[in-house]
Amino acid sequence: MDYRRDIPLAITFIVGVIAVLDYYTTFESVTNTFTVIKNWGVVLQAFALGLGAVNLFRIHGKRISERTRDDWMFSGWLLLMLVLFVVVGLGTGQYDASTSYQWIYNSLFLPLGATMYSSLAFYMAYGSYKVLRARNFEAALLFITAVLVIIGNTPIFPATFPVFFHIREWIFGPIVSGAYRGIRIGVGIGAVVLGIRTLVGLETGYLGRR
């Protein structure tokens, strides 16, 4: 018997069966048990965040000590910021609700996060210009659809010519939703099969590399 394999498989089976029973039955004992399991899940995932921070220290600490890469100073900056946020959060005793923590976040992280996301606009503008070329029939279909969706998404066009709004809605309806539904149904069936395989112990990828 391989305990490292069999014990996780047994836990997965028991938890999976309780989850399925909770969905399909109304037994109070099952509901209560599954509530406890869900709460454990939340605690475990919160714990994983701490584990992630430890991993960051391990990887970037190694980069700093070796200094073989040119960007080792960024690793140092990352760990410095990590420590700063943790110290300020824990030091005030109010964690992320403290005004000092919020000040650091709003002054440093918020503008950077917004800038990173906003910079996409420039690359998307350039990318659209370079890539959306009607070189052949398939590309022409993509080009026409993209142009109509952009026109429908640009506030001034539908407001001036409502027909563009209805064209966009039609593209988003029968075409996009239809295609997406097919994808979702396929993914759903795949998830059911994967779930059953995991429950009966045929899927062991989540146990990690052995």
């Binding site: 509530t35 709460n39 919160a46 918020l110 917004a114 210009y129």
Partner: protein, 276 residues
Amino acid sequence: MSIWEKLTSIPREVIMGLVVIAILIPALNPLGLPLMVGSMSENWYDTVDSLPAGSIVLFDIGYGSGGYPSLGPGNIAAFHQMFAKNLRIVMMATALEGSMMYPLIMAGVKPESNYGAVYGEDYIFLGYIAGGQTAMAGVLGDLKSLVSSDYNGNPISGYSIMDNVGGADDIDLVAYMTTSGDTAEGWVYQAYSQYNRALLGGCLSMMTTSIKPYYDSGQLLGIMDGIKGAADLEFLTGHPGDAIVSSDILSFTQTLVLIFILVGNVAFWMQKGGGK
């Protein structure tokens, strides 16, 4: 090099420079260009509007700093409507940074001074709850066994808003705004499929295609479609803000992108046809 060849290879710096100009003009001088309110935003507004005063709304702030420019203004407009309707809002965050968005949103809404709302009676923030769909299932299943204190670390048992909120049965509407596809679909699975709760979803425009099928099937009653949806909500709630200014910027920049695409194609075909 012919004119057509030049037009098929406009330098990146030129395009990006013109995009900057297209952003700056309406940003510095808002023009108030016309806006057509979409049906998805209208349905969001009508769903909230149909709730009687005192109804409980579970609201997930599922985005961080990257999503704030798109979703923050819509979140503020949505809360304006909810507080004006005297709805009671239980807020939570499935995104790690969601708890940092809360003070920014509240600074925009000012529920105490604008609507006479009281923290703990009319609204509460439970903070970040880890676990994604596990957290959603936990909150809807048995909220009080999962969450014991609010964002400020005070026991939720001390707040009157939580007296009658134990799980999905006590919640009249679930609404979320997120930058995560898993969260957007997760709420459909957990709130609608499991508990048949009324559900509203807000997401980035690029995600709308992936959650629109749930709207078409009636699982989502309304969608706030990125900054365009936010502008719609600001217009509908009568609280113009950043989103309406941004819709001017959208009109300028997207028209410019459209021109670039058309110029690129015309030049490409002229060049291919041997035009000089």
